[in-house]
């Protein structure tokens, strides 16, 4: 708690102040929220700032390829039942962004932090987390991301010897392999629709056999651990076998899975699942995702999907045909410049939807959809797509910078 914590050293106080000043300058210059630049300046002045700023907090770290921003938000809402929470709610998830978020948390009890996959081991070493939630690992940003298994290996090494309770998805073999170096794991059956990054055993390279929810390596026997928490339809099953209804405003199976993990994390801090789940109901949109906006007389739901696993989960939550769909893809540096992942997404699932295609890489999408044999129209601009699509709420699915572009155009 804040009251019982060590006061910050003069150096750390200076670093925080300098960071805030840099953030203010950055904001004034119109460069966004300034949180990252603020953190960068502060970290430079005091490299141990992260551990100093988090010393008084009960810290939760959340990492994954998909769903970490949403899950961070759900956990933050749930833990507010137990005290003040500081969180990097806008998804600035590298050390500088985390530092910047923490510098606002002198009075908080909990720190709920989303961490980029590549920095998890480092941040975990610095902030002495009480809990680490690991949701999934899959291919992402092919032009520079490390192999998914290499990431899992770094997590595995980083988690070894940590005191934290690891809350991990038993349905993702890479996650299980990464988490099982920890002596203290709570397994959650959170499901995983995307399986193409986990057909070979992370431990020995053998072929994984799958049967219903179960999976096991045919060569070495590495397999699915028995979960104590589970997502079952619209309910969370807790370790005592009680089923608690999920009433999220966020759509889709993936968010129910995120809520299940968030409930298991909350229980580590003594917050019962019914209270945790109740509090999660207040979350309507996360950094613009799932927001329903009206633009030029049309209703659009904004959906972010950054990689094949994300697109797959998104297809399963959109309204069925004839709901009109906008697809927008860019390949700028923040997206990854390699668009080959489009071919790992099963676009035949959009058959029957009127589709408009947008974005810097709309022609890649056009060829992809042509080969999938679904009808589509290529558009230059959003207004053009809005005019062209038949009536009904539009499901607008975009990857990272394309999503930011959409938000800017609709003023969200």
């Amino acid at each position: 708690m804040a009251e019982s914590s060590q006061p910050l050293s003069a150096r750390a106080r200076l670093a925080v102040t300098a960071g805030k000043a840099a953030a203010a300058v950055s904001r004034a210059a119109g460069r966004g929220s300034g949180s990252v630049i603020g953190g960068r300046v502060a970290l430079k002045l005091d490299p141990e700032l992260l551990s100093r700023l988090s010393g008084h907090l009960d810290v939760v770290l959340v990492s994954a390829t998909n769903g970490k921003t949403t899950t961070t938000r759900l956990i933050a809402e749930a833990l507010r039942a137990g005290g003040e929470v500081v969180s990097n709610a806008l998804g600035a998830n590298m050390p500088a962004g985390i530092t910047s978020a923490l510098s606002a948390g002198a009075k908080a009890r909990f720190g709920v932090l989303e961490v980029d996959e590549k920095y998890l081991a480092m941040v975990a070493r610095d902030v002495n987390p009480k809990t680490i939630a690991l949701l999934n690992l899959s291919r992402d940003q092919l032009d520079r991301a490390a192999e998914t298994r290499m990431l899992a290996e770094r997590w595995r090494e980083g988690l070894q010897g940590l005191k934290a309770t690891v809350v991990a998805n038993a349905d993702d073999p890479l996650i299980v392999w990464a988490a099982s170096s920890s002596g203290n794991v709570v397994w959650v059956a959170a499901g995983q629709e995307w399986k193409d990054d986990a057909w070979s055993c992370p431990s020995c390279g053998g072929v994984l056999k799958r049967e219903a929810d179960d999976w096991r390596c045919g060569a070495c026997g590495f397999g699915r651990p028995t979960p104590t928490w589970a997502l079952s339809g619209d309910h969370v099953l807790d370790p005592h076998g009680s089923a608690w209804p999920i009433h999220l405003q966020l759509p889709g199976r993936a968010n129910k899975a995120n809520a299940t993990t968030a409930a298991a994390v909350s229980a580590v801090f003594g917050i019962p699942p019914q209270i945790a789940l109740q509090r999660m109901q207040s979350v309507t949109a996360v950094a613009g995702r799932y927001d329903v906006v009206t633009h030029q007389g049309r209703e659009l739901r904004l959906l972010l999907a950054k990689n094949p696993a994300g697109w797959l989960e998104t297809f399963s939550l959109i309204d069925g045909p004839p709901a009109p769909v906008i697809l927008s893809v860019n390949a700028r540096s923040a997206d990854g410049t390699d668009t080959s992942w489009l071919w790992d997404v099963d676009y035949t699932r959009l058959a029957g939807h009127p589709i408009a295609v947008l974005g810097d890489r709309r022609l890649d999408l056009a060829v992809r959809l042509e080969v999938a044999g679904v009808d589509f129209r290529v558009c230059e601009t959003l207004p053009q797509a809005l005019q062209l699509l038949p009536p009904g709420r539009i499901e607008a699915i975009a990857n990272y910078t394309a999503f930011q572009d959409l938000r800017r155009v609709v003023g969200n």
Binding site: S200, T337, L363, V367
Partner: protein, 242 residues
């Protein structure tokens, strides 16, 4: 080809499909069906034997560890080598291209024997990973328009006398040997560093594989509008970055 259907084997999707390699299968399948052919697609996981009876074999790209596992299993299985000996058409990309060669350097930094279906030897490049759009001229004897692709690899592949370069780059790195060569081929076996995936950006290569299978010199024309638009855009992009 067999009387009933065109048989397309996708070799080891569990290990070699990191860079949208399924796209090559889908493009080939789609363009065959548009010509009225029926297609049987065989996804061969790495614990299954590689059949010798397919018409076209596609071998994709993968990360370093899966590449070693794939090479070990393909050598042990022997099916792809037997198919090649029977004159099968084989099209390989990136890690798959290296596996088809005589030797490559594996994830442990050791020299790993390949399948010896292409007279090439691959090593790990010293410099930065090459990532970006490529524009190249395909071997004129194949009669194909220019090659547009995306490369994302660190390999350097040296060609022996038993193969010809598949293409010569105008922009990009290709084989990484500094002589401008990209990929390698002989008879009906092809290797390239291009993904994108390469058949989606170069549908005429897909048609070449179909023509070789059917032993015909031309195929019924189909709607190429979106392929052509994408090609024009990527060729312009590669030219601008050069």
């Amino acid at each position: 080809m067999s009387a009933s259907a065109l048989r397309v084997a996708w070799v080891y999707p569990d290990l070699l499909s990191t860079y949208g390699d399924q796209g090559n299968v889908l493009v080939l399948e789609r363009r065959a069906r548009q010509r009225g052919l029926s297609v049987e697609r065989l996804d061969i996981r790495s614990d299954q034997p590689v059949p010798t009876s397919a018409d076209i074999y596609l071998v994709g790209g993968g990360e370093d560890r899966p590449q070693r596992l794939a090479a070990e299993r393909l050598r042990r299985d022997g099916g792809l080598q037997r198919a090649a000996a029977n004159g099968a058409i084989i099209f390989s990309v990136c890690a798959g291209y290296q596996i088809l060669g005589r030797e490559f350097v594996n994830d442990l930094g050791q020299r790993e024997p390949g399948l010896g279906l292409l007279d090439v030897v691959s090593v790990r490049g010293e410099g930065e990973r090459c990532v970006g759009d490529v524009l190249a001229d395909i071997d004129p004897s194949l009669g194909l328009p220019e090659l547009t692709g995306f490369e994302n690899h660190q390999g350097v592949t040296h060609l022996g006398p038993g193969v010809r370069p598949f293409a010569h780059v105008r922009t990009g790195r290709g084989n990484g040997t500094g002589d401008g060569t990209e990929g390698a081929w002989r008879e009906t076996v092809f290797g390239t560093y291009m993904h994108g995936p390469v058949l989606a950006r170069n549908p005429k290569i897909a048609d070449l594989l179909l023509r070789l299978t059917l032993d015909v010199s031309a195929l019924t024309p189909i709607d190429e509008r979106w392929y052509e638009a994408l090609r024009a855009e990527r060729i312009a992009a590669a030219t601008q970055t050069a």
